[in-house]
Amino acid sequence: MPGAIYAEGLVKTFGDVRALDGVDLDVPEGTVLGLLGPNGAGKTTAVRCLTTLLRPDRGRAVVAGIDVLAHPDQVRRSIGLSGQFAAVDEYLTGRENLQMVGQLYQMTAKAAKARAGELLDQFNLADAADRPAKTYSGGMRRRLDLAAALVVSPPVMFMDEPTTGLDPRNRQQLWEVIKQLVSGGTTLLLTTQYLEEADHLAHDIAVVDHGRVIARGTSDQLKARTGGERVEVVVHEREHMATAAEVLRGFGKGDTTVEEHTRKLTVPVTGGAKLLAEVIRELDTRGIEIDDIGLRRPTLDDVFLSLTGHVAEAGDEEDGADGASGTPADSRGRKRKKETVK
């Protein structure tokens, strides 16, 4: 039996661009699928096809047990969509926005009003309920947008990059809201550019590139395919490098890479922060002074690099200096997130 969201061979072209090039998806009821990919990968197009906003050129889609192409209007009754842009009317108050959406979901005016009040309380917007939405902060607008998508408590939800552009605190808040939501049994398809976000919220992740799903699995499975974590150490004295390499070999799950001129050593590990602490203690015991040490986790860029051989174009510009492999292309590609302990 197909899941709450099911797609088979979705194709959509815009002129010469093949935005979707045969996408298959299957999201079991009550689970969360994270659609992960860079800008232009086809994530939004997939969501638009599944939410009846766009007709695919080819393929089949079933949402909440209803054929999307055959009965789009029935599908609309069973879904909530929260977009990349906070799609609320900024001149209307939060309450007016929710009431309007409720009425357009064919609720009576009275029921829509009651539901709006409930949602405003739930989403912590009660104090701002009667202010025009343009006075809201970015995070408040996203919450209002999400509330609007939840007016009829739809069994299936779609969120297109729900936290893009939010600061970390607001992102965290919105994650909490989304977690609560899915714990209630809602099936959710979420698109994101952040592996961390998919990690946090999704049971399953589908990596999308050039309109195709190029990998599927849990976040651990994907990271394992990407090569997992590494510990990176920069020692203070060049003569300590040999000893440091010996220490790292003891903790490592693979070959230690040594880069003489930057005094940097890298080794693949498993065990995360706990292991990192042990490495630091051991280096300290041996009297090795270190300039920098960090646990590097695979990022979306790494997942992409390992899966596709090319770099995701959405990453922010971090220091790309990567000693482990020398070519300029690689050092541009491997922008890893550093958790540095000083």
């Binding site: 638009r48 939410t51 009846t52 906003l53 766009l54 007709r55 909440a64 209007d73 029935q74 609309r76 009754r77 069973s78 879904i79 969509l81 977009g83 990349q84 842009f85 906070a86 799609a87 609320v88 009317d89 900024e90 001149y91 209307l92 007016e96 309007m100 959406v101 009425q103 357009l104 979901y105 064919q106 609720m107 409930e118 739930q122 025009p132 609007a148 939840l150 009829v152 408590s153 739809p154 069994p155 609560q180 939501l181 714990s183 209630g184 049994g185 809602t186």
Partner: protein, 281 residues
């Protein structure tokens, strides 16, 4: 978030026309609330026609020959039907800009993902614009009375003339809706909604006596849908300068105005709703 679990999709409304009317009114209400919170838009919408009344009547009045006289009082009475008609057509730009902005901001996506009547977003917008046009027309009529404009017929005919003006304004907002759905930005919709209105409203009988135009221009002016409404208003107001041309729309201006407006609504509503169904921001 316990409410999330008891998801109950609402049943289909049994009556699609009832749903369409109700959804349109919900959207119209939303647009009216919106307009009331941007009063400067209404103010600017009023200043422009009032400026035209003053400029045309005092600058052009006195040098224009209407019905064989250059009397500026006669020109002022002649002018008002033209200004009223031009003013209602300017609602086109507002409708277009509003819909383009909704597209731009992602609201159209939200509406299209809701189980609502397909044409309701556009109908709601055009209805709200109709209300705004009616208000503008009311203020403009008061200003016109202040500068000396008078009607010389009965109340029924005067109201009939305003009815024709509102119908034409409503028809034109559907052209604006199509423009709004076709362009990328609200700014483009505003200028795109206005530019073509200048030739349409000037190559007409609105500001000058079309009987005095060169033949080919006169022909265009006489068959211009806009001229039919202006001619009908002059007739119904009992104002001077009613064209004596034998062209059908000039001889039967009320019918011509009704037919033209109805045609515009049918054609542009069909096109706009079709465009809306496939609209992508």
């Amino acid at each position: 978030m316990s409410a999330v679990t008891d998801a109950v999709p609402r049943p289909a409304r049994p009556n699609p026309i009832g749903q369409s009317v109700r959804d349109s009114l919900v959207v119209a209400k939303r647009n009216l609330i919106r307009m009331s919170r941007i009063p400067e838009m209404i103010i600017f919408g009023l200043i422009q026609p009032i400026m035209f009344v003053v400029l045309f009547s005092y600058v052009f009045g006195g040098s224009m020959t209407i019905g064989g006289t250059t009397d500026s009082g006669v020109y002022r009475e002649f002018l008002m039907a033209g200004i009223f008609a031009q003013t209602v057509t300017f609602a086109t730009a507002g409708a277009g800009a509003g819909i383009a902005e909704d597209m731009h901001k992602g609201l159209i996506d939200r509406f299209r993902s809701l189980p609502m009547a397909r044409g309701a977003v556009l109908t709601g917008r055009t209805l709200a614009d109709l209300v705004q046009t009616a208000l503008t027309l009311l203020v403009l009529a008061i200003v016109a009375l202040l500068v000396g404009w008078r009607t010389h017929t009965n109340v029924g005919e005067v109201l009939g003339a305003f009815g024709l003006l509102l119908l034409m304004g409503y028809a034109f907002t559907w052209i604006g809706a199509l423009i709004g759905l076709s362009v990328r930005t609200p700014e483009a919709a505003t200028s795109g909604g206005l530019i073509w209105l200048f030739p349409v409203t000037f190559v007409s009988n609105a500001f000058v006596d079309s009987d005095q135009m060169t033949p080919w221009l006169r022909h265009i002016a006489e068959w211009n849908p806009f001229s039919a409404t202006v001619q009908a208003c002059r007739e119904l107001f009992g104002n001077p300068g009613v064209s004596t041309s034998g062209a059908w729309p000039m001889e039967h201006p009320v019918w011509a105005s009704l037919i033209y407006s109805a045609l515009i609504i049918v054609i542009f509503r069909t096109l706009a709703v079709r465009k809306y169904r496939s609209a992508t921001a």
